[in-house]
């Protein structure tokens, strides 16, 4: 039986710094707390036991939601991954719950026999099996730790508390991570663009990044169509058109036949990368099914490739063929 550790509800400046770094994808596996049993406040053997993963943001969200309460917290070893993703992988799972109960000596540390898990851990945990094998009843609390105070009044979550939402605040929080993670795509692209396309080249890359990695997450619920890829294509085409407009205005581009072919090539080249970022954003969202994502991959990736090939062909034509009169 391992020792019971001590924690508080306080979120310190160091915690905040850790959260900021995590949200910038800095040292992504490094935001961990030690798995095991913690005391928060002055819990008695009949105080509630909350369970979470050892990603520091999950642990901190829970303990800060427990302000003013006396509880135990059992932290599972989810390898520094948040509860939702860890449950999907099974590291926030039935076996780990049962083993952690054993390892921490929870049976002797507390008298009551209920553990409260976050609802989003349920895809990794079979509550009936945990009870059968460990003697502890699993209760699923609300989706958000911040609803725990309300939940504890009746141990019943309202349907509202059971729904996973994807509000603007959450979507915005993903933007820095997305930008940092795709650095390996857009930084070389930006350098190449600068070399071969000058300032307008780099502008094209910046528009793709801004539309795909910043505007898309923000506008997600407002874009027409249901699938992420088609939403992305629409937004990407708008980005391409914006680029064309800027060139007409400031780049000396004309609306002759050659200009139109260049414009079409640019839209065809810029929409697919934006849509690709959009398709990938399904993985960061809690609103896409894998069947749906698989369908999108097989339907849209070939379409992206064809569009871009067409764009390249048109760009080459516009550069090689000498165009005469205007339309």
């Amino acid at each position: 039986m391992s020792e019971i550790m001590v924690t508080t509800s306080e979120i310190t400046a160091a915690n905040r710094r850790d959260h900021r770094l995590a949200r910038l994808a800095w040292d992504r596996m490094g935001h961990k707390v030690a798995p095991g049993l913690y005391r928060l406040g002055n819990p008695t053997p009949s105080s509630p036991v909350f369970v979470t993963g050892n990603y520091s943001l999950s642990f901190d969200a829970l303990r800060s939601a427990l302000t003013g309460m006396d509880t135990h917290i059992m932290v599972l070893d989810t390898k520094g991954i948040n509860v939702w993703c860890a449950a999907g992988k099974g590291t926030f799972g039935t076996e780990e719950v049962i083993e952690r109960i054993e390892e921490t000596g929870l049976k002797d540390a507390v008298q009551q026999r209920t553990i409260i898990l976050p609802q989003l851990g349920a895809s990794g945990v079979n509550a009936h099996e945990v009870r059968r094998r460990s003697g502890f009843k699993v209760e699923y609390g609300p989706v958000l730790a911040s609803d725990i105070g309300e939940y504890m009044k009746s141990h019943e979550a309202t349907p509202e508390m059971r729904r996973i939402r994807f509000p603007l605040k959450d979507r915005m929080a993903l933007v820095p991570v997305e930008i940092v993670n795709y650095l390996k795509f857009w930084l070389p692209a930006a350098l190449l663009a600068l070399l071969f396309g000058g300032l307008f080249g780099i502008l094209a890359v910046l528009i793709v990044v801004a539309f795909g990695l910043i505007l898309f997450p923000i506008l997600l619920p407002y874009l027409p169509t249901r699938q992420f890829s088609s939403k992305g294509l629409i937004l990407g085409a708008l980005g391409g058109m914006l680029f064309v407009l800027l060139q007409l205005q400031y780049g000396g581009m004309g609306l002759d036949l050659q200009g139109l072919i260049v414009a079409a090539a640019e839209v065809l080249l810029m929409a697919p990368p934006v849509a690709y970022f959009a398709l990938n954003f399904t993985g960061s969202s809690p609103i896409a099914s894998r069947t749906g994502v698989r369908r999108e991959i097989f339907r849209y990736i070939p379409m992206f490739v064809i569009m871009m090939a067409l764009g390249v062909v048109m760009a080459v034509i516009s550069a090689l063929v000498p165009f005469g009169g205007s339309l």
Binding site: N82, C85, S123, Y140, R163, T282, G283, S284, R290
Partner: protein, 106 residues
Amino acid sequence: MNLLQVTDEPVALEVVANEMNTLRYYPQRCINCGMCTKVCPHGVFAPNGAKVKVADHTGCIECGACRMNCPVAAIEVDSGVGCAAAMIRAALTGKEPTCGPDCRGI
């Protein structure tokens, strides 16, 4: 949503399935414990008298929480790694999708 017949049981088993995802619900097995209505983060199941019903199959994201916690195997769903990045990698390499270093989950 349509009703299909499954023949692996002595009595034909009613199943509620749909075209959009892999969620399958066998109402005859349901003992109305209410677990699925609690764990589903998208309100797919709803109470309906003596057995739950699928209230909104379009919301299902195949997370598997309902299947995992149904005590009588009244629900089936193919859950697993559903990240586009992982699935594209899997499609290219011919392997099973696994979470990789490019995971952006936070």
